[in-house]
């Protein structure tokens, strides 16, 4: 288990700064200055078992996996909730992959609202995405790569965030003094590239390393049935290039290391809500992204599609949603994502029963290679406080895509039993 000490330190420091500010403000009020009005402690703990269909493809990988994770949250509020301290550490222990055993401060922040202004200091994460297949526009937080294929789990990003809500939308500025490196599956873990990525040996081409600050601005607004967002980003790319840096005797690479560089990005995202149909779009244009050859390259990527829901099918209460999205990346196969020229289709079934049972089946097809990934997610509450999640992935066909091809033999079923308190 490795602790990202620096990241944590940064988060704690920022939180402390924020806390001091709160304390100062509170003292002016003279009324029990530091006693929060509300303190809540809640969170979840999960047991996870993964069963893979095939033997591991690469040396060192374990066949199956068992894992435990805990994510408690401490929340304290002052001034009618205008000031809030949130601390959400995350800890995972994994039987098969020591890199997957990790700790993160998902959140360690102070939120402070002053009228239309909102200030956040500390570790936080931010979601801008619209589409279902992937979220191109989400650039603030680095993916917590060991957590899952869907890249929905992200690392807490230390930041100073200022938001101003106006009649013409919300304007947000981000100052991110510290960069969080992406996590990669270790040698023993499945769902990794053929050569393991040794994230401890990350290289920063930007000079400042992890302490190189990043900046971002975003404008988001709701105009009638349109939700739109525009962002700009300058700073360390959350997507590293991978460079072989250890070789065996015959010159074959035995280890990869992530290489980070400074990029700039602009992006546009939006959703048009038309009755039961949601039309979604995410697009970015990124400057100076390192490609596989460690050369800086500009590229564009776009994801868009529609989600159409049939509500209350036959009066059963269940909703069936159809998802159809396309993804394009101007880099083609060289892209570091699984989605470069893919079509993603899916069906979402929400039973809307008392257990909130739902299913999501998606299939993404690479238009060039014809390879596809079938994915099934299901979840259901057992009793209050207990929930079971099921995840299945099947990788079908030969993929020319580097990333996907590495997973060729990693079709799996994963079951999570989660306890909430």
């Amino acid at each position: 288990m490795r602790v990202k000490a620096c990241g944590v330190a940064a988060g704690v420091w920022l939180a402390a700064v924020g806390g001091a500010a709160v304390a100062q403000e509170a003292e002016k009020e003279e009324v029990s200055p530091l006693d929060p009005e509300a303190v809540e402690f809640y969170g979840s703990a999960e047991f996870e078992g993964s069963v893979f269909a095939k033997e591991p493809a690469f040396a060192g990988q374990n066949r199956n996996d068992f894992s435990f994770a805990i994510e408690p949250t401490l929340l304290a509020e002052w001034f009618n909730g205008d000031v809030a301290l949130t601390v959400t550490p995350f800890l995972r222990w994994d039987a098969a992959d020591d890199r997957r055993s990790h700790f993160d401060l998902r959140e360690a922040k102070v939120d402070w609202r002053i009228g239309d202004w909102e200030l956040t200091a500390g570790n936080d994460f931010v979601f801008w995405g619209r589409t279902e297949a992937q979220q191109l526009v989400d650039i603030i937080n680095t993916v917590d790569g060991v957590e899952g294929l869907d890249e929905e789990e992200k690392l807490g990003q230390p930041m100073l965030k200022v938001t101003r809500l106006t009649d013409i939308g919300a304007f947000t500025g981000f100052y991110m003094p510290y960069f969080r490196e992406r996590t990669f599956a270790g040698e023993g873990g499945r769902l990794r590239a053929s050569i393991p990525v040794n994230d401890g040996d990350a290289v920063f081409l930007n000079g400042g390393g992890e302490w190189d600050p990043s900046f971002a601005v975003r404008w988001a607004h709701v105009i009638g049935d349109f939700d739109v967002g525009v962002h700009g980003f300058h700073g360390v790319s959350r997507d590293p290039a991978l460079e072989a840096f250890q070789f065996d005797g015959v010159g074959r690479p035995t280890a990869l290391r992530p290489v980070y560089d400074t990029i700039s990005q602009v992006g546009l995202d939006g959703q048009y809500t038309s009755g039961p149909a949601l039309w979604k779009l995410e697009s970015i244009y990124r400057f100076d992204q390192l490609d596989g050859n460690l050369e800086r390259q500009d590229y564009a990527a776009i994801t868009g599609g529609v989600e159409y829901t049939f509500f209350d099918v036959s009066g059963s209460g269940a909703d069936i949603g159809l998802i159809l999205e396309g993804a394009y990346d101007s880099r083609g196969d060289a892209a570091l994502t699984p989605f470069n020229e893919d079509v993603i289709g899916g069906v979402r079934l929400a039973l809307n029963d008392e257990q909130d049972t739902s299913f999501l089946a998606t299939s993404s097809v690479d238009l060039e290679s014809g390879a596809s990934i079938l994915r099934l997610e299901a979840e259901r509450r057992l009793v209050d406080g207990w929930k079971v999640e099921l995840e299945g992935n099947a990788f079908l066909g030969d993929s020319s895509d580097d990333v996907e091809s590495s997973f060729q033999d990693d079709s799996f079923v994963r079951v999570k039993l989660i306890y909430f308190w």
């Binding site: 809640y42 979840s44 929340l75 509020e77 009618n80 909730g81 809030a84 949130t86 939120d111 609202r113 009228g115 239309d116 909102e118 994460f125 931010v126 979601f127 995405g129 929905e152 789990e153 938001t163 809500l165 919300a170 988001a220 709701v222 049935d225 939700d227 959703q271 809500t273 009755g275 039961p276 149909a277 949601l278 829901t309 509500f311 209350d312 009066g315 209460g317 909703d319 809307n352 029963d353 008392e354 909130d356 509450r381 209050d384 406080g385 929930k387 989660i418 909430f420 308190w421």
Partner: protein
Amino acid sequence: MTETQPPVGRSGGGGVEQTSVMRAAEAIVRLRWLWIAMTLVIVVVSALGLGRLTLDPSARVFFDPKNPDRIALDRFETIFAKDDNLMFVIAPKGGDVFTPEMLALQGRITECLWRLPFVRRVNSLTNFQHTYAEADDMIVRDLVPDQPYGRSLENNACDLDLDAVAVTPEMAAEAREIALSRVELLNSFVDPDGEVAQVQTLFKLPGLNKAQEVPVVAAEALALAEQVEAAFPDVSVKLSGAIMINNQFAGAAQADGQLLTPLMFLAILVLVGLTLRSVIATFMTLIVIIVSSLAGLGALAWSGVPINSVTALSYLYISTLAVASAVHILASVRQTMPETEDRREWARRALSEHMVAIIVACVTTAIGFLSLNFSISPPFRQLGNIVAFGVIVSMVLTLTLLPALVTLLPMRRRLVAPTAAVFMARLGDWVVDNRRMLLPGMALMVVLCGLGIQRIVLEDDFVRYFDERFQFRKDVDFIEAELTGINLLEWPLDSGETDGINDPEYLAKVSAFVDWMREQPEVTSVRSVTDTIKRLNMNMNSDDPSYYRLPKVREEASQYLFLYELSMNYGMDLTDQIDIDRRIMRVSNAMTGVTTADMRAFTERAKEWLSVNAPDLTTGPDGKRDPTGLVHVFNLISERDVKAMLGGTVLALVLISGVLLFVLRDVKVGVVSLVPNLIPAVMAFGVWGYTAGAVTLAIAVVLAATLGIVVDDTVHFLSKYVKARREGKSPEDSVRYVFRTVGMALLITTLALIAGFLVLAQSGFAVNGDLARLTALTIAIALIADFLLLPPLLIVIDRMMHRKRSVDMTPSKSAATTAALCLALPLAAVLLAPGTARAETPEEKGLAIAVEADKRDLGWSDIRVDGEMVLRDASGRESRRTYENLFLEVPASELGDKSIIVFDSPRDIRGTGLLTHAEIEPKDDNQWLYLPAIKRVKRISSSNRTGKFVSSEFSYEDLGAQEVDDYEYKWLRDEPCPGAEDLTCFVSESYPKNQRSGYSKRVSWTDQNEYRLMQVEFYNRRGDLEKVLTFNGYQQYLDKYWRADKLTMVNKQTGKETDLISTNYRFKTGLENGQFVSQALPRMAR
């Protein structure tokens, strides 16, 4: 005499008061001879006073010295002569008043009228001061000259011998030509066709003996009229004017008294005789009544206040009211008869059972009448005091003399219980059985009747206070139809300076005002000196018609008037037209065929004209432009009195309610009693509005006067009800008990009262008639309300209070600080359907209800509430969800409100937030879902109407913010609210306008008091009943907003249920719009 122990069984749960009542009853019976002596004293003292009674026969008795209109009138009459006029109108059957004979007759009449006492002046066609030019001289002469005016002044006899008068046909023709061309005469002294003519007499009454002067003058005028009609059968004479009006006020009182008194006693005898079936009992009742009435009149006499046309009937009010108390005692005696032979026991038992109720009834009645002291019309104040006094005397007599008589007079003992009691018991059963139907039915009746109030018109044409049975009224109608209006508005136009009336500018304005008034359709004639001045100007310019205009120079006008006055005969001058300072000129206009409202409207128009065209002309020192005159005071008196009586009525209500509370010792019942006390008057006014419409100033005092009367039945009813309840009877049985025990007495006394007031209603004097009719109507309705509305109301409220009390005992409830509906807030705001009663069609009413409900739920600005949702399947298995709900009111009606719901449990969805910006149908709402696990805010489709919200039985449609315009409505009926039968609900259907709705219709029950939704039935697209939503535990927040603690939705198809339980309602917490945007959702959901 042995001490008989009071029958314990009858007095049940008695306390201190019960036994003290018995002790008092015992004492009263023992001291019976004392009461008889006391009565004799009352009779003697009162009778001695009667000789001092005087009559004030004047219309002005209705004017309080402080009435501002009266003050203005007094001022006017000090400046100009106070005219008590007499209109002596002749209408020859030949249809020509300008024949030599008729002109001669008018001359004779003119002279005869001069001989009447107190005459100041007589005006007629014949002595009209005709002016004309002869050479350079201006001649002023009588229109029909050579009248032997004052010829036989020394001879008191009036001589109608026409031979002595020489009116030639030429003179007659000339008179016709001149008279019909003069605005001064036309439509006031003669009609345009020359068929009817007036001889006007002005009197100056010394006012030393009011009771004598008017009748004497009127009698002589009537004698002269008779003399004329006898001597000239072809001529009919009509009399009117202030003298005759005032005389009529006196005459009406006498006529009423002569007609109504025997009628009243007959009615009482018949009613009491029939019910008590005993001559002796009837006789005893009569004694009580007569002595009470006598005492009332005696008190009036000793107070020295002259009686008037209203107070003249006060003893009849006392009689009517006294009957009720007496009947109660005697009916009780009748019921005791079969049980014992002991007459004293009859009296004791009657007293101990009814003493408190009778005291309360009489005291409240007295309070009601005493509150008439708030009236601005002295006759009502006097009436109130006399009646109150008489009622108290009747109370004392009923409780003392009457029991004494019972023990002393040989009343025959009857052994059979009155059969009528069986009927009352049946009525009681029927009322209890049908209470669910009665309550809303009666409520509807109340509303329907109440609507009639707006049709009531205040009508105080005082000359028409008298109905057609009076010759005076017929004459008035004839004169108004054929000649001129009786109602005179006086405009004392102030020039603002001494001698100002000579100012040509002022004269021009007055003249313009006169011209304007002559153009008005309701005006028959206008009298003004400006006409005289114009005429004089013409005469001074050799009768050149082009000079028929106002002089251009101030001095000319002055000289003309001076010359004119110099040339006039004795008694003729301009002092009744122009004030002594020559500063104010009087303009009078007569109107015909007008109601009080018309006259008020005309007054306003005229004032408006003055303020625009002659802003510097005022009619009073206060700069106002109001006219004056007797009729003007009457025009405004009802409104003034209604306003004045408001305070008195409220005071009476408070005092009477206080008495009730004290007596009943039960706040709940006391409050409920307001319903049958107030509703009758409201309904009576409404019925009056539908039927008669017009009402005199009597209406102002009706509510206060009847309050004290109708409360009697309520007292009897409620005291028996409370007693039964305290003995442990159920509300239903208590009602039955009331009907059995006092039902008959209530019926009889009320019938007696109604009969009495119906007799009073026969008064030919509209003020008395209206008061009596309205009172009779009110009492009748009060009985209906007491029998049909009060019992169901009591049962329902008793049941409700009982239920509430048991609920309160559960600790969870009492601990709960506040609570109400949560998610369903928008639901409640909009589903609320029923409407105000004014809507005409069911659709309009349905919409009106929805609008009203919506209106009542405005202004809450923002709300936070904690909610719990309990899902229950058919087998009873439960699962729960808790959440906080935040609402932000968006004032603009074209925008829906905003809300956020944040789930707290189940714990796996903790922090999940849903932001909704409501839109008006058929547009979908805007919704954003916040998923805390990945911090994602996702705009989601809100076109899901029928789906279940978090698998509850509430669909998204049920919970979405809904606005009035989302539905079409139709009111169906009113009925007791489901689950709260004490309340009446509007039942109405609403049909969603949006085709995607999961429902074909919803039927909602909304309580009529607070417009709270009580129940909603949801019918699916197939038309089947799918779900039923009930609302429980309403609480009111900020004194305005009603929220239910618990909503329960039951799916009738699947048997599943969902409760929405709301706690910790917080209103106006300062939530802002900026917190209800999607960007703020993550923080809000925290």
